[in-house]
């Protein structure tokens, strides 16, 4: 019985998804799917919180090990992924109806992809890790292709699918090599083999490590493995874009932390001279810089947000590199940043959705001209989320950046911190450009102006995100404590 309780976040999400599917196909006029999906997500998240409060040390989770590790790290990510999923399904509740895409599969895929994401965050073995990764990725490919009649959507989905499968294959090959060298797929046992010097006796383990890291970097869309991101994000329906930017990326970072810190977390693999941190640091710098420079040159706000999500992956990688000095601090910083990033990004995409309607979509900067006067409430919410993404106090994004930068300083990575800081200043440019268009420009006479859609779902999602952004900005302590507690999973 306690085992059922330990698995309840998974059971609730999976069971709820199945029930919703049955309800959808057997009811005459399916409606309220968005609300139902949101409720399933929230219930699953609530069970994770309950498990956290009950204390996982009292649960018989040992028999699930190593397939599913139920620890505080898992629970934190369960809550985060469910929050992202819930907000995304609220956005979809407005968007899909408005754009006449309202088909129930969207919600089912959303639920099962999140299920995959939770598998990914909790996997303690390469086998379940790969299963979760594929479950989540397949869902994301399908969501990208959801606007079927749009060539953009098809193009983005095809690129995403081909490159994604290729990256999965590379990663699988790396897993095979590591398995060949260490004789185990269990992350912890692989880690033990690495700390006993499997690399010197079987150098193929090292090649395996490199291939796995490449796969991980692809999944978090770090430069130079980011090519699919702008097209996939632009082609996908906007709620799916928000979902991918938030849930898929968070789960990928959870996987990255778990793999790098558990399996490849020995002194040798994490050393600055012979390990993965310098490569990751270089990629972090490359990711931030390239993404920020390209983002500044976009005409489409949606595409700008896509590049912005790549840039955020760069800041997060800075946080991962800190693991060189302190695994716990690194994990805590990344986890907290992901929480702040989740609410701000969903909010920004949500505001973009709310500003447009069928035939009068808000896509480019010009569409946003004069929005500040016409629709002050939405413009204000949008500004809040953009400030948060830029890292302006007192919003959530400020503290996210603050903790990562401080962790990098504490570990002596001054140059990395300075580069990251310069990049956030560049980033502020294109976020503020949206504000300039909203408040200081008037639409060209005769130009098509974006007309906001009427949707209570989207408004609710925006309101929730705004509350979270402000709450995390004004009182970050509670969430930060939770993130630090979650990071103790990686205590040596």
């Amino acid at each position: 019985m306690l085992l059922m309780f330990a698995l309840s976040p998974f059971l609730v999400l999976g069971g709820g998804a199945l029930l919703l599917m049955l309800a959808e196909v057997f009811s005459r006029r399916p409606s309220g799917l968005a609300i139902g999906t949101t409720i399933v997500f929230i219930t699953s998240g609530a069970f994770s919180v309950a498990l956290w409060l009950y204390g996982i040390e009292f649960l018989p989770v040992g028999i699930l090990s190593p397939w599913i590790l139920v620890d505080k790290f898992t629970l934190f990510f369960n809550v985060l992924l469910c929050l992202g999923g819930a907000l995304a399904s609220l956005l979809a509740g407005g968007y899909l109806v408005e754009y006449k895409l309202n088909r129930g599969e969207f919600y089912s895929i959303l639920l099962f992809a999140t299920f995959g994401g939770m598998m990914l965050a909790s996997a303690g073995d390469f086998l379940t890790l790969f299963l979760g990764l594929e479950t989540m990725s397949l869902g994301a490919y399908a969501l990208t292709a959801f606007r079927r009649a749009s060539p953009r959507s098809a193009e983005g989905a095809l690129k995403y699918f081909l490159l994604g499968s290729f990256a999965a294959a590379i990663m699988l090959y790396g897993i095979a090599l590591v398995y060949g060298a260490t004789g185990s797929t269990d992350l912890a046992r692989v880690g033990a083999a690495f700390s006993h010097g499997v690399v010197t006796s079987h150098p193929m383990a090292l090649i395996g490590l490199v291939l796995i890291v490449i796969g991980l970097l692809f999944k978090v869309s770090a430069v130079p493995f980011h090519m699919w991101t702008p097209d996939a994000y632009e082609g996908a329906p906007t709620p799916a874009t928000a979902y991918m930017a938030v849930v898929v990326k968070s789960a990928a970072f959870a996987m990255m932390l778990r793999v790098l810190l558990t399996s490849f977390g020995d002194a040798e693999s994490m050393s600055w001279s012979a390990g993965w941190p310098p490569a990751l640091a270089a990629i972090a710098v490359l990711t931030m810089t390239v993404a920020n420079l390209i983002a500044g040159r976009q005409d489409s706000v949606k595409r700008m947000l896509a590049y912005s999500s790549i840039a955020h992956a760069g800041y997060l990688l800075v946080g991962v590199v800190v693991a060189l000095r302190s695994k716990e601090q690194a994990a805590a910083g990344v986890i907290f940043y992901l929480a702040t990033y989740t609410v701000s990004t969903i909010g920004a995409f949500g505001a973009l959705i709310l500003l447009g309607s069928y035939g009068k979509e808000a896509v480019s900067y010009d569409d946003l001209a004069g929005v500040g006067k016409r629709h002050p409430a939405i413009a204000m919410a949008f500004s809040l989320f953009l400030f948060s993404l830029a890292g302006v106090p007192p919003t959530a994004g400020f503290f996210g950046k603050w903790f990562i930068f401080r962790a990098a300083m504490d570990s002596g990575f001054y140059w990395l911190t300075i580069l990251a800081f310069i990049n956030s200043v560049i980033g502020a440019y294109y976020y503020l450009r949206v504000l300039v268009f909203m408040y200081m420009r008037e639409p060209q006479p005769g130009a098509a102006i974006a007309v906001p859609m009427q949707s209570r779902h989207v408004k609710a999602a925006l309101l929730l995100s705004a509350v979270f952004v402000l709450a995390l900005g004004l009182a970050p302590t509670c969430t930060l404590d939770a993130a630090i507690a979650a990071a103790t999973t990686f205590r040596m």
Binding site: M21, V25, F26
Partner: protein, 119 residues
């Protein structure tokens, strides 16, 4: 290990040999005197029009992909069926858990009309 399969490999070898012999004899020994008329594509006596590729409905594709998915599901059932007695109630429960998910997928597909040809 491989010796267990020796008969199988022998059958494969003999089959390949016989087929190869027939093919070689037919190509080498058969009389050939091609004329332009003989080299033309034959389409019921009329000249062929249009491209070779036939545009098929995406329904074929959907059916094929659903087949692959349920095929993979069936793969998991084989080993369970072979070991049914030894696995006992635990095996049965696991399989029911798995199959009920897949069954719901089937019901979903059915009700959505993805198995219907006309829609």
């Amino acid at each position: 290990m491989l010796s267990t399969y020796a008969p199988m490999f022998m059958i494969i070898a003999i089959a390949t040999l016989i087929a190869g012999l027939f093919y070689t004899f037919a190509t080498v020994l058969g009389p050939k005197n091609p004329t332009p008329e003989k080299m033309m594509p034959f389409e019921c006596g009329s000249d062929s029009v249009g491209s070779r590729g036939v545009k098929l409905s995406v329904k074929f594709y959907l059916t094929a992909i659903l087949f692959v998915v349920f095929d993979i599901e069936a793969v998991f059932v084989y080993p369970w069926a072979i070991q049914f007695r030894q696995l006992g109630w635990f095996g049965l429960a696991s399989m029911i858990g798995f199959l009920s998910v897949v069954a719901i997928a089937l019901v979903y597909v059915w009700r959505k009309g993805a198995l219907e040809w006309e829609s």
